[in-house]
């Protein structure tokens, strides 16, 4: 019973030809379109370079002051602001200032890109069940496929550098904001929507006056998740040429430098905690009006 013992797999030669064919056609595609795609992303790269240079050119005490003020503005918590200042002082003292600025720059740009693309996509998804059925599996793939796998086509297309790194971060970080925007809008109270209809609201008015404001807590949870996932990609992004805290971590792995890895790793953790707490507090502050003795 040879049939049962051996899986009836494709011929070795055919399989090789198939893989070769896919590789060749993608190489063809990237040769033909690589420059165009790169040109498309060029403004993004310029923005990222400009932001990083700006942060490095600004004297460090001013940068730390700005970070402290931003933390206070977001959270209205003096302790969080002081903690932010202290963290950046320690980071600078241990010689990680430049790498940290590079990481903050890429995380900021990646978050902006994710918000700019993710929220409209989430709105689109909330408007039709068919759209939701089409996009959900794509988001599932983006979240579960090993990052190294999609790094391959990105490198083939765009080579090594900031833009492919940014794309890799965005692919991984965008699903939560899309999902939570969609969910938030779908969870908006049906009665309130009916009231908007009864007063003759157009679908545009319903979207901006009712659906988005009421979905904001969920949308904001999505922004928070997106920031966290972008930070988680820092090390992997550094493998394809993104500067930042990931580079020394990679060096530490290959050379077994425990202290170097630990310090840079902890700096990433510090950034994550600051971003997380500040954005959460800000999101909570947006919800102040929900407090009171009576639920709505």
């Amino acid at each position: 019973m040879e049939f049962l013992d051996e899986f009836p797999e494709m011929g070795r030669k055919d399989l090789r030809e198939l893989k070769k064919g896919i590789d060749a056609s993608f190489r063809e595609f990237s040769r033909a379109n690589g420059d165009g795609i790169e040109a498309f992303f060029e403004p993004l790269m310029h923005f990222m370079v400009w932001l990083e240079k700006l942060m490095l050119a600004t004297p460090w005490p001013i940068m730390i002051l700005i970070f402290g003020l931003l933390a206070w503005w977001g959270s209205r918590s003096i302790w969080l602001a002081l903690g932010t200042v202290a963290s950046f002082l320690v980071i600078g003292y241990f010689g990680m200032w430049e790498d940290t600025m590079a990481t903050v720059a890429i995380i900021s740009v990646a978050t902006l890109v994710c918000i700019g693309v993710g929220i409209p996509l989430g709105i689109l998804m909330s408007r039709s069940d068919r759209m939701q059925a089409a996009i959900t599996p794509i988001l599932d793939i983006m979240q579960t496929i090993p990052s190294f796998v999609y790094l391959i086509p990105i490198i083939m297309l765009l080579g090594i550098g900031k833009v492919p790194g940014l794309l890799a971060v965005c692919v991984y970080a965008i699903p939560p904001i899309v999902r939570l925007t969609n969910l938030g809008i779908r969870l908006v109270d049906k009665e309130v929507l009916e009231a908007a209809d009864a007063f003759g609201a157009s679908s545009r008015q319903k979207l901006f006056d009712v659906q988005i404001p009421l979905a904001l807590p969920n949308i904001f949870a999505g922004v928070n998740q997106t920031i966290m996932m972008a930070l988680a990609m820092v090390v992997i992004a550094s493998m394809i040429g993104v500067k930042g805290l990931g580079v020394p971590v990679l060096r530490a792995i290959s050379n077994q430098y425990l202290a170097l890895g630990l310090m840079n790793g902890l700096a990433i953790v510090a950034l994550a905690i600051i971003f997380d707490r500040v954005s959460q507090q800000y999101g909570k502050r947006l919800q102040k009006h929900r407090e009171g003795g009576h639920g709505v």
């Binding site: 109270d189 009665e191 309130v192 009916e194 009231a195 908007a196 209809d197 009864a198 007063f199 003759g200 609201a201 157009s202 008015q205 006056d209 009712v210 404001p213 009421l214 904001l216 009006h289 929900r290 407090e291 009171g292 003795g293 009576h294 639920g295 709505v296």
Partner: protein, 348 residues
């Protein structure tokens, strides 16, 4: 009688996969239960015909599941009927284009909801301005007009509060002010006071009646509470299983219930408070020297007669005597009508 503002003609609503084809079955007398059992469709409204006079309060009442909330959503076409017509000022709402319908909802008809349906992220004044904002009025005018209605419903001083900071009764005042602010002549109220405590509900009914005394809007009011219906309604329609069982003035319904369903409905009400002397009067004049205006309720008239120690009195309208009432008439009016033997009514 006054002119007709809203008219519902042969309205059917059937829920299911192929509602249009079911209309024929219902027209042939298929009941709600049979339609569900044999055709897997739910009968929402069954051949409803109502003429609603202008500038009065029309109450539509029934138990839950009787189709009243479905019916009210047909007036402004939040629900599309399966068959039939909805005419407002002679214009067919169902033939309106999307733009016309939006305009109609912005200007002609506004709505108050059972669960308030306020915007939790907007202050009271911004909630009241909602309909005006939708219409696209400038902000100053929105707020000026909203402020007027906030004052009228007694919420002055709460303009900058959020709905979650207000009690249920106050939230519904916001809902009422929001509906009034658009200056629509027709007001739809979907169990607007049902979620409130009895005392607050009374307050809200007072506010509504007081406003109506001045505004004379056409109000379509849905309720399951007969006391409320009798108190505020100029006309009442009673629905059961999506069909109209009886319509008429409160007095008529109390004195002459159409069937045992209605009889059960009215059996626990305070009849003396609903009935007036005109509805139980007979021909002739009384020489007791006592007379009542025709709208005096029995509850008011009886103690007056006892105090004067008389057994009959005249009934007057605009100063002229139109008939008389005797104690016997009045006791007969208050007595609960007997149920017909052997006819059991079950409600689901």
């Amino acid at each position: 009688m006054s002119d007709i503002k809203v008219s519902i003609k042969n309205l059917y609503k059937i829920f299911g996969s192929n509602p249009k084809s079911m209309v024929q079955h219902v027209e042939n007398g298929c009941s709600k239960a049979d339609l569900l059992a044999n055709h897997k469709h739910v009968l929402g409204l069954n051949n409803v015909n109502i003429n609603i006079p202008a500038r009065q309060i029309q109450v539509i009442m029934g138990l839950s599941g009787s189709g009243k909330s479905t019916l009210i959503r047909h007036f402004n076409r939040l629900i599309e009927p399966t068959a039939g017509q909805v005419l407002v000022d002679g214009e067919d709402v169902l033939s309106m284009s999307e733009d016309q319908l939006r305009d109609f909802r912005r200007n002609k008809m506004s709505m108050v909801f059972q669960k308030f349906a306020l915007l939790p992220h907007r202050t009271v004044i911004d909630n009241v301005s909602f309909g005006l904002k939708i219409k696209g009025l400038p902000v100053e005018e929105q707020h000026e007009r909203a402020q007027k209605w906030i004052d009228r419903v007694g919420l002055t001083g709460f303009e900058q509060n959020y709905p979650a900071q207000l009690s249920g009764g106050m939230q519904q005042r916001v809902g009422l002010a929001r509906a009034l602010a658009t200056d629509a002549d027709i007001l739809l109220m979907d169990e607007a006071f049902s979620a409130l405590d009895p005392l607050i509900r009374n307050d809200m009914q007072d506010i509504l009646l007081k406003l109506q005394d001045e505004l004379h809007k056409t109000i379509i009011f849905i309720t399951h509470d007969l006391d409320e219906a009798l108190r505020i309604g100029d006309n009442i329609v009673i629905l059961r299983d999506g069909a109209v069982i009886q319509q008429g003035a409160p007095q008529e319904i109390v004195l002459d219930p159409a069937d045992d369903y209605v009889r059960d409905f009215i059996k626990d009400i305070n009849r003396a408070r609903v009935l007036n002397v005109e509805s139980v009067m007979e021909e002739g004049t009384s020489d007791s020297g006592l007379s009542f205006a025709s709208t005096t309720t029995l509850e008011e008239a009886l103690p007056a007669m006892a105090a004067a120690n008389v057994t009959s009195a005249n009934v007057e309208q605009d100063g002229t005597v139109i008939g008389m009432v005797t104690l016997n008439d009045m006791i007969g009016g208050i007595a609960r009508p007997a149920r017909h033997e052997g006819e059991g009514v079950t409600y689901r």
